[in-house]
Every structure is written in structure tokens, then in C-alpha cells.
């Protein structure tokens, strides 16, 4: 996994609540057996005017000029500013894959759906929960200022605005450690092999029917 430390990133404001994983990556793209290449279809139904299918040449499709990601001032954004309950809906990891492949490393929102939040960390992305008033403030600044960048420092757990305003954020210590060091969960868990085996043996003794 890609490590994450600090990022100075252009911010794009997606001003909608309850953005669901069907919107982030529509189901027709879930037929892929790969885990890369979803970026061009992130937000497909909002981003393009025509209907997208896997295998299409996306560069030839007609972009929806009204969709915020398509505005020229937001090209190259790596920070997504969002509203509450971002990533609700299905468990599809294709959603963070698509956002990561698009170029996002940080998503800031007042709240996230649980599975999506979790999936982000597994893919080197940092989802940040900030109170609604602060998020609202960032939305206003971002929309008012072309080229609006935020500095996100994971070690310090801070977001710094261009004007020097600093917002602290919380992050689970274990996830922070993994993200800072680009650690792979499986490798870490394997360090506990003996404990897993011991647990399993005792579990089997107590509930043998689980092991039929």
C-alpha cells in the first residue's frame, strides 16, 4: 500500500449529501476482475452526458459541463470536499479504487458511511471527519478562491488552509500507523498467527459444529 504523510492538494467541492457508492462507481463497472483503471468512470453518471459501459473510450465521451469535477479550475484535484454520509450504500471497494485512481488522496466530510471509510484506509487514502461547520467553512473558501489548496499533515493530524487557519482532526492510531508506513494489513495480522491458531483450537473445542 502507498504510504501517506503530507499532501498539498487542490480541493474540489462536491456539494451533495449522501453521495452513495452507486454514484461513485456505477454497477456496470463492477464486472471487472481487476482493481485498477476505475478512475475514468468515477461519478460516471454525473460526469458524462451519455451512458457509460466498460470498455468505452472515455476520452471520446461527452462531459457534463455542469458537474463540478469537470470544471477547468478543479482539474488535478487530490482533495475531495464532501457532505455528510459520504460513501453510503454498497461495500464495493471499487468506489475507493475509482477515487484513488482518479487522483484523490484525501476526502473531507462531516461523516462517512462505515464500510467506505474503512475501505479508504486499505487503499492509501485518508478520509477525514470534520465537524459540519468547519466543512461548511471550507466549502465557502474553496468555492470563493480559485486554485484553493489545503495542506494535510497526517503525522500532526492537521489541515491548513491557504490563509494559515489550522483544523485538527482525529484518526485512529492503528490506521494512522498503517497509513504513515504504507503497511499491509495481512502482513501485520500474520504476526499474530500463533494467537489465531490458539484461538481457533479453543473455539473449535467450544463450538465443534462450526468446524464440520
Amino acid at each position: 500500500m502507498q504510504a501517506f504523510n503530507t499532501l498539498n492538494g487542490l480541493v474540489v467541492p462536491l456539494d451533495r449529501a449522501n453521495v452513495d457508492t452507486d454514484a461513485i462507481i456505477p454497477k456496470q463497472f463492477l464486472k471487472s476482475i481487476k482493481r485498477s483503471g476505475f478512475g475514468p468512470n468515477a461519478f460516471d453518471e454525473w460526469r458524462y452526458l451519455d451512458h457509460g459501459e466498460p470498455g468505452m473510450d472515455n476520452s471520446k465521451r461527452q462531459l457534463n459541463p455542469d458537474f463540478v469535477l469537470n470544471k477547468s479550475r478543479y482539474q488535478g484535484a487530490s482533495v475531495l470536499l464532501a457532505r455528510e454520509n459520504f460513501g453510503c450504500g454498497s461495500s464495493r471497494e471499487h468506489a475507493p479504487w475509482a477515487l484513488e485512481d482518479y487522483g484523490f488522496r484525501v476526502i473531507i466530510a462531516p461523516s462517512f458511511a462505515d464500510i467506505f471509510f474503512n475501505n479508504c484506509f486499505k487503499n492509501g487514502m485518508l478520509p477525514i471527519v470534520l465537524d459540519a461547520a468547519s466543512v461548511d467553512h471550507l466549502f465557502k473558501e474553496c468555492e470563493a478562491t480559485e486554485g484553493y489548496q489545503l495542506k494535510i499533515a497526517l503525522q500532526e493530524q492537521t489541515i491548513t488552509t491557504p490563509g494559515g487557519q489550522v483544523f485538527k482532526f482525529d484518526v485512529d492510531a492503528f490506521r494512522k500507523h498503517c497509513l504513515l508506513n504504507g503497511l499491509d494489513d495481512i502482513g501485520l495480522t500474520m504476526q499474530h498467527q500463533d494467537k489465531i491458531k490458539a484461538f481457533e483450537a479453543q473455539h473449535q473445542k467450544a463450538q465443534p459444529w462450526l468446524f464440520n
Binding site: R16, A173, I186, K195, W209, L210
Partner: protein, 470 residues
């Protein structure tokens, strides 16, 4: 010892190790389907890893499979990319192994959350995971069931464990007696209408109270299925006789001498008297009406006697914006009576409502009637091959067909429209599934979530109608 919630018992009994509130929990059952597993198997292969315990894996193909054209076999899968995914599951299971596999067209094939319970592969006290958010369904058995992402699918395969933080516990108590024509689906929608789609975020929900105790296992599955739509990663119901009676004799249920020991243990899977919940929500069953969603989120829901709400009356700006966008997408005007909304299609199916009791209830409404002329397609998609066979043995297929419904092969179908079953832009559907998001049932499609009874009633009326008035 202090009083524990059911969630405490399930979580605590699976902790392998814990550090700073992050636990490794042991996973008993891993359900696998074709869409969220290929990258996980590929990851194992690349790392040279094997499944830790292949006997924990039970797999089926459901999301991508077609619901007709089965006589042509694999060639009946018109979409070549879908076919590759289905065949990839076949070859992965062959390579890595599983306790049981119900491939495409097998008589046990079905939606993973219908198949698991009906096979007895979901048992009380288990931790159950699947790369699918509606894994919460299995909590109906007094199990701890989570939807997980594909990285976690790979993690569970490789280590038999999941990295988890303990959630907070919420009790949703529904007391009283449901009225005629009011179902578990209506309870689920009423709860989400009350607490919102993020109301359960960070919680594991236990559903309790006399109205829940009175539900059948299938009703409890419908309810727990939608816990995720309330934002909760897990929903659960305590074990009682209803649970145990349902499991007895199923193919993968414990047998003979193990059965009694299992039942003795399962009976302890209830919240202790005096157990503390971090939050409690109460509803009175008598006050729940048959529900219909009007918007693009399951929380946008009213009773059938209600009207489409008016965004101008909403004070919260973000909410008002969502409502306005939803009304525009749904092409609805504020204050329109729900019963005045005409529909184009009907979908009876999905892991929420495709079990035998759902089909019986819908058939009872459809019996001797005809699908209205304005309804272009009314689909009935059984949840599994076994549900389909049972329904046919009871003659339900004939009732549906005589009324003008199409009777299909099992699978997820128009719940998420990955296969050919979908809405065209602008079409409006009465659906027994669980998500009414924009584009969920086909780009530009408009979904209204209802119970099977209400879907059948809408099919024959051509618009939403109070099933109690038929």
C-alpha cells in the same frame, strides 16, 4: 459479571487479540460471490497465500447472473464481461476450495443472503462476513454479520480474521402488534424514516420488542438486511424458538449429538437483563403504515396514506437541497398523494424480499387479478433455486403468470441491474429491494421501495395503492 448485550457477547467471544481498542476478530463464515472476490483471490495468488480455512467459505454466483435464457447455459450470459467474472469465480473456487459452492444454474444457486440461511450455513453465534453490505441480513440469527470490502475479503481469506473496532450498541425496540398488510419491510423503512440513513452509523443495532419477537425468521432477515440502509454495519435479533426451529434439519446445520450442545449455547445469545445500550429508539407497531419511498434515499419515505413532502417546509439547507434534487430526479411534485403515483415496472425480488413468504404474500394479492395495462413489466425473481422450486411446488408461479407477471430464474436481478434486468431512463418502479439511489436499477430509473404485498398491489392497480384497501 456485568450484564452484556447480544452484541457484546458476539464480539467479545471472537476477539483473538486486542490493542488500543482495535481488535482482531475471528471469522466463522465467509460468504463469497463473483463481484467482490476476483481481486481478493488475485491478491492471494500474487502473494502465494492460501485460504486459512477453506471450510469457512460458502460461495455462489448471484449479482451478474441472468434471470432467463438458462437453457443456453453459460452462453445464455449475453454480456461477455459478466461471463468472465462468473467463470472466474468457478476457477477460483476450484483452485482455492470451499466448504460449499453453488455455481451459476446450480439448484442451490441464489442471492448470497438467501442461500446462506436456507442452507444452514448461517448459524447463531457465528461471525459472518461477505463482500456485500447486506451481509447484515444474517444477524437475524443472533450472529454478528458484517459487509466488508474486497481488501478485507482477501484479509479474511488469508488470516481468518478481521481488524475491527467495537461499535456502539443501539437497541431498536418495536412493541405491539403489526396491522394487517404491514410487514417487516415496513418496519425497516419506518425505522430508517425515523433515524435517517446515517442514524445507525457507528452502531450495531439489535432489534427487539414484542413486534420483532413475533416476526418469522424471514421477516427478521428482511429487517436486518436493511440495517445497513440505516448506516449500521450490523443488525441482529436475539435467538429464540423461532430461530432454532428454522435452522433444524437444514443441510449445514449441526446434527445429532452436536445439535443439543449447539442449541444450549445458542439460547444464551440474548441481551442480558439490564444490559446497557448506547442508544435506544422505540416504535409502536400499531402506528406503522405500509411504507413507500418517494425520493432517492431510503430515509425519504412516507406511509401510503401520505403525500410527497414539500422541500420549502424544510429548514435545514442541506436537507432541503437533497429533497429538491430528489424530487427533480424522481419527477415528482410536492404534496402529490402517494397513491396518485403511476408506475411503469414492478420488481419483486432481492435479498430483502425474495424468500418464500414474500412470494406467498405477493401471490395472495395478485391471485385472480391482472397486472394493469400501463405496467410494462412486472418481474418476480425468486431469491434462490430452492425458493423457486418451493414456489413452483405451491403453484405460486402459475398465479403470477396468470396475472401477467414474468417468472424468472434466481439472482440479484433488477435490485442492482448488473444483468439485463433494468429500468430505462425515466421509468418508475415499485420495487421490493433495498436501495432507491439514483441509477440503482438502471440509469435514470426511478425506484420506490415497498413490501412485496404493496408491490403486487401496485402492479394490479398501475399505481401505488394501500394493499389494505384491496
Amino acid at each position: 459479571m456485568s450484564a452484556k448485550t447480544l452484541y457484546d457477547k458476539l464480539f467479545d467471544s471472537h476477539v483473538v487479540t486486542e490493542e488500543n481498542g482495535t481488535a482482531l476478530i475471528y471469522i466463522d463464515r465467509h460468504l463469497v460471490h463473483e463481484v467482490t472476490s476476483p481481486q481478493a483471490f488475485e491478491g492471494l495468488r500474487l502473494a502465494g497465500r492460501k485460504p486459512w480455512r477453506k471450510d469457512s467459505i460458502v460461495a455462489t454466483a448471484d449479482h451478474n447472473t441472468p434471470t432467463n435464457g438458462w437453457e443456453k447455459g453459460l452462453d445464455g450470459i449475453a454480456d461477455p464481461i459478466a461471463r468472465i467474472q462468473i467463470e472466474t469465480l468457478d476457477s477460483n473456487i476450484k483452485e482455492f476450495g470451499a466448504k460449499a459452492y453453488f455455481p451459476f444454474m446450480d439448484k442451490g444457486q441464489g442471492i448470497v443472503h438467501v442461500m446462506g440461511p436456507e442452507q444452514g450455513a448461517t448459524l447463531p453465534g457465528m461471525t459472518v462476513v461477505c463482500g456485500d453490505s447486506h451481509t447484515s441480513t444474517h444477524g437475524a440469527f443472533g450472529a454478528l454479520a458484517h459487509g466488508i470490502g474486497t481488501s478485507e475479503v482477501e484479509h479474511v481469506m488469508a488470516t481468518q480474521c478481521l481488524v475491527q473496532k467495537k461499535s456502539k450498541a443501539m437497541l431498536v425496540r418495536v412493541d405491539g402488534k403489526l396491522g394487517r398488510g404491514v410487514t417487516a419491510k415496513d418496519i425497516a423503512l419506518a425505522i430508517i424514516g425515523k433515524i435517517g440513513t446515517a442514524g445507525g452509523t457507528g452502531y450495531a443495532i439489535e432489534f427487539g420488542g414484542s413486534a420483532i419477537r413475533a416476526l418469522s425468521m424471514e421477516g427478521r432477515m428482511t429487517l436486518c438486511n436493511m440495517a445497513i440502509e440505516a448506516g449500521a454495519r450490523a443488525g441482529m435479533v436475539a435467538v429464540d424458538d423461532t430461530t432454532i426451529d428454522y435452522i433444524k434439519g437444514r443441510p449445514y446445520a449441526p446434527k445429532a449429538d452436536q445439535w443439543d450442545a449447539a442449541v444450549n449455547y445458542w439460547r444464551t445469545l440474548v441481551s442480558d437483563d439490564g444490559a446497557k445500550f448506547d442508544s435506544t429508539v422505540t416504535l409502536q407497531a400499531e402506528q406503522i403504515q405500509p411504507q413507500v419511498t418517494w425520493g432517492t434515499s431510503p430515509e425519504m419515505v412516507v406511509g401510503i396514506d401520505g403525500v410527497v413532502p414539500d422541500p420549502t417546509k424544510e429548514v435545514d439547507a442541506t436537507k432541503r437541497g437533497s429533497m429538491e434534487r430528489a424530487l427533480q430526479y424522481m419527477d415528482l411534485k410536492a404534496n402529490t398523494p402517494m397513491s396518485a403515483i403511476a408506475i411503469d415496472k414492478v420488481f419483486i425480488g432481492s435479498c430483502t424480499n425474495s424468500r418464500i413468504e414474500d412470494l406467498r404474500a405477493a401471490a395472495l394479492v395478485a391471485k385472480g387479478k391482472k397486472v394493469a395495462a400501463n405496467v410494462k413489466l412486472a418481474l418476480v425473481v425468486p431469491g434462490s433455486g430452492l425458493v423457486k422450486a418451493q414456489a413452483e411446488a405451491e403453484g405460486l408461479d402459475k398465479i403470477f403468470k396468470e396475472a401477467g407477471f414474468e417468472w424468472r430464474e434466481p439472482g440479484c436481478s433488477m435490485c442492482l441491474a448488473m444483468n439485463a434486468d433494468r429500468l430505462s431512463p425515466g421509468e418508475r418502479c415499485a420495487s421490493t429491494s433495498n436501495r432507491n439511489f439514483e441509477g440503482r436499477q438502471g440509469q435514470g430509473g426511478r425506484t420506490h421501495l415497498v413490501s412485496p404485498e404493496m408491490a403486487a398491489a401496485a402492479a394490479v392497480a398501475g399505481h401505488f395503492v394501500d394493499v389494505r384497501s384491496l
